[in-house]
Assembly symmetry: C2
Homo-oligomer: 394 residues x 2
């Protein structure tokens, strides 16, 4: 059990820490969801979501975990017995395959080794063998490994084969550029609790005309996550919701999206780029191997291989219990082999400084030779060299 | 638009007002859902849910609106092409039929007139004609009309015909007794945002062994709402969740359920009985007709017919915009014909006093003859006659 008297730092890729104004939004008195005071907040949050998705689509808002939005894509797009192509590169990519299986698709699962990107050329080859595939499901930021896939290229490949593409951007949206309309991405799903700096419990799906048409062609076998019903009530003036919305979470989301609007989306992406760059620089200086590719776009979570001379599972445990820093270890077969430092959402330069300092102290305590302060200095240099203000929204 | 400078009172049957301690729970710093500090809260909330459901079942917790838990029952129990009996008596009962249709059931929908209870004898007749029906779906407290159905009797009828029963208790659970295990109710679903005094965004499903077995016999066509997967991870020690839980909402729920535990479930039911009784007494004294039966068990929401000499739709509008009291009007064909005063959850005697006072003032302003204070006095008498403390948990 963590010592509650030690100051706590949340450095996980979801839930991520909340800006104080977002936390406070939820402590307000409850509103009736059909009262004007809430409808105004709801309409503004829906409008602000479009800006973050960089789309003209109606961004559907569900009271659900991010996986609920993924399920909405499968429930609306997959046909029993028909092929569905999943291109995965980690744990969350595999969830697409589980979902397609649950919905009775003939799932064609192209697995890329964890820690590598999905190669567009490989997707091209897979699709050439599946001329009937109507949809490709893949992942933007694979939280289990830190990899950020090239969605623009994967979208082009899918479209060349006449397939739509549905992208899980739960952890990447709002951290790394994914201009949905510019790139022509058919479906993007996301969640509230990562780069969008909001509490967990809201999920989003943005589907373009082609995707909504495919969904409408096979109605049924869904209700809560039905796209047609959701889009039609959200498009009313003022917008409505098919079910009681999670009022407090929507109020929090609206405040968080307002912070992103104030900071500017381009500035938000640049801040994440810098956070990722500084974290990778620190790892390199500490002679720790990155688990994913050393990619200037992989700025959501940095996965670092742990030295083999120590008990890997002890690293996140010690960081939390002794130093109050909560980071995630590895999932699945990566348990005990990596540590994942998140920097998506409400994070600034000194969050990286703190986490790297604690990682150095932890490795040292576990008997690994490490020069205290060396990783911190590398991060400091990366931030100073950027020559930009380091403030996060407040 | 409501005047924000007027003190606001929320008197709707969901979302309902939150006790201050519940609101504050959500303003706390975010926790990682696998950290011991959250796991402890999560385990306790799951344990406390069992007490409110009065069951030994594992009560499944979903990040969703109440309708999500209803969908879980249909997705897990209904078979395409097979009969599913729905016994409805209002708008929320009809949702069961929409869900069964969406999942491809051969839906047999027995509609009771809105404002009346589902008669056990009628269900008996319907089931006699449907010997293959495996499940009956019905409603405990029908929020659209104020009616509370006799679930104990309906359960007995279903069981006599070899069918299971699934009950939507979204608005009634925690307000009116529904001892699941004692009555042998196979499935009870509920939501966080009504009598449980928590923010909207959490949904619950409690399924007994027979229901879980029926679900397990036909896997697939569901993932987010799959009962087998949910029960198996929640039963781990410590309990886990299949997807990122809505951390802040679970913290709020735990605090709210702690308040119910402190007050005592029997006392909570008695408080609701008194609130319902006082509200009905006030309506009678004002010579306003109750929409539902004058039932000492209908203590979730009181639906009152509006006098025909005035514009019914103006009543909730004026109460909100002029007096700051948010009540709900009628839904569907009852729009403009009834007003619904909720008293489920964090409500006390003086909430009824305030609402009846504002209703009197509103009717008077709209030109209906009303003796100001008469309804208030009737409510006061009802509370005094009970001779019990009137405090609500704080």
């Amino acid at each position: 059990m963590a010592n509650p008297y030690i100051k706590q730092y949340l450095m996980t890729a979801g839930p991520t820490p909340l800006p104080p104004a977002v936390s406070q939004a939820m402590a307000q008195p409850m509103l009736y969801h059909r009262a004007p005071a809430f409808v105004e907040v709801y309409a503004r949050a829906l409008r602000r979501l479009k800006a973050v998705f960089q789309t003209e689509n109606e961004v559907m808002l569900f009271a659900a975990s991010g996986s609920g939005a993924m399920e909405s894509a499968v429930a609306n797009l997959v046909r029993p017995g028909e092929p569905a192509v999943v291109a995965s590169s980690g744990k969350f990519g595999e969830r697409w395959a589980e979902l397609c299986d649950a919905y009775g698709a003939r799932t064609v699962h192209w697995r890329t080794e964890w820690g590598r990107k999905v190669e567009p050329a490989e997707l091209d080859r897979v699709l050439a063998e599946q001329p009937d595939a109507e949809v490709v499901f893949t992942t933007f930021s694979e939280t289990s490994t830190g990899v950020v896939n090239d969605i623009r290229e994967l979208t082009d490949v899918a479209h060349r084969h006449g397939a739509l593409i549905a992208v899980d951007a739960v952890s990447g949206l709002g951290a790394v550029p994914l201009p949905q309309d510019d790139w022509g991405v058919d479906v993007v799903v996301a969640g509230s609790q990562k780069a969008l700096m909001s509490p967990p419990g809201l999920a989003f799906a943005s589907a373009n005309g082609a995707a909504l048409e495919l969904a409408a062609a096979a109605p049924g076998r869904r209700f809560y996550f039905d796209w047609g019903a959701t889009v039609s009530v959200q498009r009313k003036d003022p917008p409505d919701s098919p079910f009681t919305p999670a009022v407090g979470l929507v109020q929090a989301l609206d405040v968080a999206l307002g912070l992103i609007e104030d900071e500017g989306l381009a500035e938000v992406f640049e801040r994440h780029r810098l956070l990722g760059r500084a974290t990778r620089a620190a790892a390199r200086t500490l002679e720790l191997e990155l688990f994913g590719p050393d990619d200037d776009n992989a700025n959501v979570v940095t996965a670092i291989r742990l030295p083999q001379d120590l008990d890997g599972a002890a690293v996140p445990r010690l960081m939390r219990d002794r130093f109050g820093i909560t980071v995630a270890g590895g999932q699945g077969h990566l348990k005990g082999r990596i540590v994942r430092i998140a920097h998506c959402g409400y994070f600034g330069a000194f969050d990286v400084v703190v986490t790297i300092a604690a990682l150095e102290m932890t490795l040292s305590e576990l008997g690994h030779e490490v020069e205290l302060g060396a990783g911190v200095a590398a991060a400091q240099r990366a931030f100073l060299e950027a020559g930009v203000p380091l403030a996060t929204p407040a």
